[in-house]
């Protein structure tokens, strides 16, 4: 308790030197928590949006389907069994048929994926009901990114050319009936959404599908033979990996920030021990053991982190809470990142994140304070009292 009081008195007594260290360390605190919170917020939002817009509660893939190999699409279609049809009727499943095609916007040629979806589906956020329109042209729904790259907008007519199940060319006019804005580029870039029955008719694939999306709210999904089930964990693994890589990248920033703060504490400690040799000698002469003196100096150093945590809380909590409330607007080009990124990211700060950061900084500050304090153990009290440098 005496050491604690002494340490506190010495620390406050050091004045500006202490507060400079504390401010630098508090900035590290806030930046680390903010950055981790941003990544956690992005991760949570990307997972949520991907589930709501793309993968639902998991997907059944036709056994030949490989999303990374467009050539497998030709053989990736299968008739839906009665069980699946029943699942579709009871809103547990929604089938999607995928096929390659070519469009000719403004006389240019562009490869696309045609995706057929049931306009009455309610599992995904995709506004498929806009496709429930009777028209001579094929009704098309597309994302805003695709609209931008093709320079097409609502009401435009574009020619689509495709090959049916036998490989025979066919072509027809399509009309853009609506555009949707989504944070999930994987259902937007290079894709046209059309009514499922229309695509089946075009491809001559009645009652067939390439993938079947499941309802995330329904448990006990049926076993479908001939289909491979990919759960959320599998389908979100790309996002998880990307965020993990970002966290590793972010750790380098944390290390640099902590290094700068710790360097300041280390310098302060070295200077203190040099300038307070008489005090150290006196304390030993008065009966304190070397270990007690080392503990005192280590405690002084580590108390920087406690003070820094308090200072960080004063200005950091309101700042971080404001960001939680209003979010952080992402730059426009992040849209092309290829992963679900919202226009605004709302950071998520967990108690675990704050406690872990505090503990890490406290331990680091303690170690950094201890290293120069070890010098005290080699001091002779008589020399120390006289101010002789070892």
């Amino acid at each position: 308790m005496l050491s604690l009081k002494l340490a506190w008195r010495n620390l406050i007594g050091a004045g500006l030197r202490t507060w400079l260290n504390v401010i630098v360390l508090s900035i590290s605190f806030v930046v680390i928590i903010w950055h981790r919170g941003m990544l956690d917020g992005w991760h949570e939002q990307a997972r949520r949006d991907t589930i709501e817009w793309e993968i639902g509660g998991g997907q059944y893939w036709q056994k030949n389907y490989d999303p990374y190999d467009a050539f497998t699409l030709v053989d990736s279609h299968e008739k839906l069994s009665a069980d699946i049809q029943e699942g579709v009727m009871s809103n547990i499943l929604t089938p999607i048929l995928i096929s390659q095609a070519t469009i000719y916007p403004q006389g240019r040629i562009q490869s696309v994926l045609l995706k057929g979806i049931d306009p009455t589906q309610k599992i995904l956020n995709l506004p498929a009901k806009k496709l429930a329109t009777e028209s001579y042209e094929i009704p098309v729904l597309m994302g805003t990114r695709m609209a931008e790259s093709t320079k097409l907008t609502i009401g435009d007519i574009v020619t689509i050319r495709w090959r049916d199940v036998n490989g025979t060319f066919d072509a027809a006019e399509a009309k853009i009936v609506d555009l949707f804005r989504t944070n999930v580029p994987k259902i937007d870039n290079g894709q046209l959404w059309i009514p499922l029955d229309r695509l089946r008719q075009m491809m001559q694939m009645p009652d067939e599908a390439t993938i079947i999306v499941t309802n995330p709210e329904k448990k006990n999904l049926p076993q479908l033979s001939g289909w491979t089930f990919r759960d959320q964990q599998y389908l979100l693994s790309d996002i998880d990996r990307t965020i993990k890589q970002k966290q590793v990248g972010g750790s380098i920033i944390y290390i640099i920030l902590l290094f700068l703060a710790m360097l300041a504490i280390f310098d302060t400690q070295v200077l203190s021990i040099f300038r307070r040799q008489r005090e150290i000698g006196t304390q030993i002469a008065l009966g304190m053991t070397r270990g007690q003196v080392i503990r005192l100096f280590t405690l002084e150093g580590s108390m920087h982190s406690i003070l820094a945590a308090a200072v960080a809380a004063i200005y950091g909590i309101p700042l971080l809470l404001l960001q939680v409330k209003y979010g952080i607007t992402m730059p426009e080009n992040t849209d092309e990142y290829g992963m679900a990124i919202a226009e605004k990211i709302f950071p998520v700060y967990s108690l675990g994140l704050v406690i872990t950061t505090t503990i890490v900084i406290f331990i680091t500050a303690t170690i950094v304070s201890f290293i120069p304090a070890r010098k005290i153990s080699r001091m002779k009290p008589t020399d120390a009292i006289r101010g002789k440098i070892n």
Binding site: T159, G167, T168
Partner: protein
């Protein structure tokens, strides 16, 4: 004697005013198809940013086997392609690798041109896959033509309908249009510079045009061609890609 002549006019297509579609197809196949052929050619690809020319030499046997070696430009030189039935292997000297491409790759554009690999290597006999009927007459470059409409009789053809403008004297299409199932015109070929090779007539210049796309299309020019020549089997082996 008059009766014999009249019977000839009625029953022998070659003597009638309008020959049957099958007869014309047979004559076209006689001109265009061959057991084997070796030719050097130039392909001029007209793009948005200008035109570029690709030179190549091709060895082909029937419908199934084809070997093409690119001669120019420098970037494409020594690139080789081997087609065996519906499979394609491509050798790239830059990477010194041979890549096998699935049958669907054959439907992709060749070096950004208006031709797919399938179009370029297609030498299928029309009679095998289409039924034909003469639907009219027309004149192209002062040459009278029959308009021949072809409807697919097998399911696995790329184009369900074709229209051919067949030279009435040479039995060679001077224009060919390829249609989608919906009846939409997809591609047009203009065949010109017709020369005689032995018993057959053959076009030395073909202009391919993707009708859905803007642009001037792709010109295919045959510099020289030999028909029914003996091509050793090793030419169509994967080992020859690296030679």
């Amino acid at each position: 004697m008059k009766i014999v002549f009249l019977l000839l006019v009625i029953y022998v297509p070659g003597f009638s005013q309008t020959p049957s579609g099958e007869y014309l197809l047979d004559k076209i196949d006689q001109n265009m198809s061959s057991d084997s052929r070796v030719f050097t050619s130039k392909m001029v690809i007209h793009g948005r940013r200008g035109s570029r020319t690709v030179e190549s030499k091709t060895w082909a046997i029937g419908e199934e086997k084809s070997f093409t070696e690119y001669l120019a430009p420098a970037r494409e030189k020594d690139t080789k392609m081997l087609k065996l039935e519906d499979q394609l292997w491509m050798y790239s000297p830059a990477t010194d690798r041979t890549i096998q491409i699935s049958g669907h790759m054959l439907r992709q554009s060749v070096m950004g041109s208006d031709l797919s690999y399938e179009d370029m290597m297609d030498d299928k006999k029309l009679q095998t896959h289409y039924t034909a009927a003469v639907v009219g007459t027309d004149t192209i470059e002062s040459r009278p033509c029959w308009i021949l409409e072809l409807q697919a009789k097998t399911k696995d053809v790329a184009y369900e309908m074709r229209k051919l403008w067949v030279d009435q004297q040479r039995y060679l299409p001077l224009r060919q249009e390829l249609y989608a199932k919906s009846g939409k015109l997809l591609k047009r070929m203009e065949l010109s510079e017709i020369v005689r090779h032995g018993k057959r007539w053959y076009p030395m210049h073909i202009l391919f045009k993707d009708m859905l796309k803007d642009g001037k299309g792709t010109e295919f020019m045959v510099d020289d061609i030999e028909f029914d020549v003996t091509i050793p089997d090793y030419r169509f082996s994967k080992a020859s890609l690296r030679r």
